[in-house]
Symmetry: C2
Subunit: 207 residues, 2 copies
Amino acid sequence: MKSQIATIDIEPLRLDEAGLKQLFLEARTHNRWLDRPVHDDVLRELYDIVKLAPTSANSQPMRLVFVKGREAKEKLKLALPPPNVEKTMTAPVTAVVAHDLEFYEQLPRLMPHVDARSWFAHRPTDEIERAAFQGSAMQGAYLILAARALGLDCGPIGGFDHGTVDAAFFPDGKGRSNFLLNLGYGDVSGVYPRLPRLEFDDACRIE
Amino acid sequence: MKSQIATIDIEPLRLDEAGLKQLFLEARTHNRWLDRPVHDDVLRELYDIVKLAPTSANSQPMRLVFVKGREAKEKLKLALPPPNVEKTMTAPVTAVVAHDLEFYEQLPRLMPHVDARSWFAHRPTDEIERAAFQGSAMQGAYLILAARALGLDCGPIGGFDHGTVDAAFFPDGKGRSNFLLNLGYGDVSGVYPRLPRLEFDDACRIE
């Protein structure tokens, strides 16, 4: 006879294998794109998913510019080193993943039950920027996985001139770019072989 | 008669609604935990999923200490302000999400086709730390979503004394903590009401 304990110890709900493959196991960085647009309503749905993932003090410092138009793409091109030009210029959308250096001004709205604004507002500029940079990195990572969840393919780009991007897309001086994210429907013929990963015992320990 | 074009324009594969709910739409930060352990093989599977998500130059700077044992938890406790003590001490596991300040020493193995080590090795310490911090923030965000994908619940913690954690868990001085992540099976009675989010037009634009 089964003990009653067994009825409590149900298996936790796991994403099915197809979902794990889509987000992690078989997802790859893309460099070449099918000739298929990414509609604005997909970008809106994408943000509406991403905004829910957690940030420090609910601060949500990430700001996104979805670069789609020819003129905006040309501004972006000026910041790209040669190896990153073609894949970025041909991507249906390139998201500039950035953070707002005055993100704390939103905290009275985002965390209304405490004076969270005061935790940041009078700190040195470099500490504020570090908090915002952490947040946009985390939210940018959520963005990658949320895009994959919606069937988009991603190509994150770290190599570009940040000053050029910031001047072009945040002329008021309050935005700082973290990374670029090419978005579209990928052409698998442009995917490189997967590079090695650190194993558990290289990167982790249990204490 | 349908045009042949229609056969190309298939709908992109999307995660089903249950999957989107589990990872984003209904997932919440947890503060109270069921009395149910997180087994080491779950932590190993978790890392094996997380390691696949993209990092700049495939650098994978994140290092994880999964704090489970009483002695290690007591070391962690010394770094916690009062509001973060109970939820962290009762969590079955707390992951110290950190980065390796010498992550670039792994690049000959992780990106063997170019001399990626030289992109970092001679840069000023603060620039190396910033690159590692960006990476551990992104990998830590992947960790949150991967944990949810495996049916775990998460409680990220930003408020703690970094110096105390770093001295306790990285005594060789090469690791820097980014954030803490409580992991377990959450007790929904401890979840707070969801806080407001910035809307698309507050945080994004399309150019």
